[in-house]
């Protein structure tokens, strides 16, 4: 058995988009003389992922992440290029491939909206033609592992987004996929739920050797989940590197957002090396911390000592900033 889970060569996708000027006149003009423009969504991607790897496929909105994943799952036909996923060409052998892969699209639910998740488990078992006893054992294991017991019999429409996503991911593991595509699995979730979902994915990867290909524009997904990160921008690969290197070179900044109990006095700020005030808006302050020069704990400690805080959050810099940084340092 080959150790390559997926491989692409010069994989490209071009969409033809109709151009329309604003307003009614624009609509009429476009009706009489439509103007089309080619939009390159994915531009010649070469990529190899080994079995068992956890790869984060990152990029800002519109970078081509979802389009790539849709080509790799056989949903979209590429404009040019080749791809082999578990030895199959996705768009030619879609159904055959579908038995061996799983896919979770953060914005497209496979759960039956008006019914409890348990019913979707049943349907998915029929879709993948699972043996009854094997299905029951696997379902019970996933229910326990993903702690779905309390939600199992509640209609999906009444679940919170976090609960729904846990069900979505658990359902996608039901047929023991060898390769799991996760498209923005943590989109819109709060920090605690994000963390739990990442832990569960990591657990299944470790125990079952499932290859995970995850798209995200959340840098936290990379740091905590993946060993390798591929960053794409404008449809092309900008960086393909181990996450350790990415952390060291690119994710070396954290942003602290503070809400103070009283007004902000800049003279009270600690004159600490590696910190920079980014924004002050009334009682809200944003401070960037360079982790190569100092550590978060030290900065937080001195802030707490100087100010009365109402709220504090620590975040990764936005993906746009990471991309700018990679551009600035000359790519990978």
């Amino acid at each position: 058995m080959t150790m390559v889970a997926l491989q692409t060569h010069a994989l490209s996708k071009i969409f033809t988009v109709k151009q329309k000027r604003a307003g009614l006149t624009g609509s009429i003009r476009s009706l009489i003389k439509p103007q089309w423009e080619e939009k390159i969504a994915v531009k010649g991607i070469d990529l190899t992922v080994q079995r068992g790897e956890m790869v984060a496929f990152l990029g800002p909105n519109g970078a081509g992440k979802s389009t790539t994943i849709k080509m790799l799952t056989g949903i979209l036909h590429p404009s040019s290029g080749e791809a082999q996923v578990l030895g199959l060409t996705p768009w030619r052998e879609r159904a055959k491939l579908a038995y061996r892969i799983g896919a979770v699209f953060g914005q497209k639910s496979q759960l039956w909206y008006h019914l409890p998740p348990i019913d979707t488990f049943d349907l998915i078992s029929r879709i993948y033609e699972l043996d009854r006893s094997e299905y029951a054992a696997r379902r019970n294991d996933l229910i326990e592992r993903f702690e779905l017991g309390p939600y199992l019999n509640i209609p999906v429409r009444k679940l919170s987004l976090g609960e729904r996503m846990r069900c979505e991911i658990a359902v996608s593991f039901l047929h023991r996929p060898q390769l799991l595509f996760l498209d923005e699995p943590t989109i819109g979730l709060d920090v605690v739920v994000k963390q739990r979902i990442r832990e569960l994915i990591r657990e299944v990867n470790k125990e079952e050797g499932t290859t995970v290909f995850l798209t995200s524009h959340d840098a936290g997904d990379v740091e905590e989940l993946c060993s390798r990160a591929v960053v794409i921008h404008h449809g092309g690969i900008l960086l393909d590197a181990p996450v350790d290197r990415l952390k060291r070179e690119v994710l070396s900044r954290k942003i602290i957002s503070l809400t103070l109990a009283s007004g902000f006095d800049p003279t009270m700020l600690p004159s600490q090396v590696g910190t920079e005030v980014l924004k002050v808006e009334g009682r809200r302050v944003k401070i960037a911390v360079d982790l190569q020069q100092t550590d978060i704990e030290a900065v937080l400690g001195s802030l707490i000592g100087r100010f009365r805080l109402e709220d504090v959050t620590v975040e990764d810099p936005p993906m746009e900033e990471i991309i700018t940084h990679i551009y600035g340092s000359g790519g990978g």
């Binding site: 799952t73 036909h77 909206y113 008006h114 019914l115 049943d122 349907l123 029929r126």
Partner: protein, 267 residues
């Protein structure tokens, strides 16, 4: 996997889909009964108008009131079962243009079948029940009569579905064709509820060719009243032909499918 095992697997999948659709509809029981009941009454209103018409003219081009009633039975009944079991057949256009095929495409079951069987129309239950009640009222209750009526239901349901799928597939090629698809669907349905013998010349030729509504509207005569083997064979061939074209267009269209980023939910 052998063909037989594949067939059994698909059948089990369809049965589960239908069970879930029904369970999903039952989540809103009052709405279910109101919609189904209203459609039942709506169909009766049409029959009431026809009864007024036949009160003045007993026979029109060989058709009497019971033939028109059977036409409605076979038309509404066929539409009813198709829309109950494959309720997404008239929603192909918005599903395609809204990029909602992704989940179906990422799973191994036949995409078109999966899409079609993923919804049950509530009003269709009323249509189907209406078809059965009318058959019970004026139909031929012998075994032969029941079998012919069942065959009529199958032909009309599959043909309505096939033509509507073809209209919906335009979305792959022209973007959002929801309006055109609805027009195709509504015109076809309307044309299939008028006795085919009231049309002459070019209009009749159209009804038995590119707009094959005639193969539904002649069923009460050519299949059920005066069994005409040639008409029945033609009707079966045209139905299968249009279904084949629909499936072909859909699969060709998938190559042009461009997905989308709309938030999509099932059921």
């Amino acid at each position: 996997m052998s063909m037989a095992a594949k067939g059994i697997g698909t059948l089990k999948f369809l049965l589960t889909c239908w069970k879930l659709n029904l369970a999903s509809a039952m989540e809103y029981r009052l709405s279910f009964f109101m919609l189904a009941g209203m459609m039942f009454i709506n169909n009766f209103m049409w029959l009431f108008f026809w009864s007024l018409f036949f009160g003045r003219f007993q026979v029109v081009n060989g058709w009497d009131l019971s033939d028109v009633m059977m036409l409605w039975a076979v038309g509404a009944g066929g539409f009813g079962w198709a829309n109950m079991l494959f309720g997404n057949f008239n929603r192909i256009a918005p599903i395609v243009s809204g990029g909602q095929l992704d989940v179906y495409l990422s799973q191994p079951k036949p995409v078109l079948l999966h899409v079609l069987a993923s919804r049950m129309s509530l009003t269709a239950v009323g249509d189907f029940m209406f078809g059965l009640v009318i058959y019970g009222w004026v139909g031929d209750h012998s075994l032969r009569g029941a079998l012919l009526f069942t065959a009529g239901l199958i032909i009309s349901g599959v043909l309505i579905m096939a033509v509507t799928i073809i209209g919906g597939c335009l979305s792959f090629y022209v973007g959002n064709s929801e309006g055109i698809a609805n027009q195709v669907f509504n015109s076809f349905l309307a044309l299939s509820t008028y006795p085919s013998d009231i049309f002459r010349g070019f209009a009749k030729a159209l009804l038995f060719s590119i707009i094959p509504a005639g193969f539904i509207s002649y069923l009460p005569i050519g299949l059920m009243r005066d069994f005409d083997a040639i008409f029945v064979l033609e009707a079966v061939a045209v139905t299968l032909g249009f279904l084949g074209i629909g499936i072909f267009f859909f699969h060709r269209g998938l190559r042009k499918y461009s997905s989308g980023n709309a938030i999509a939910l099932r059921g």
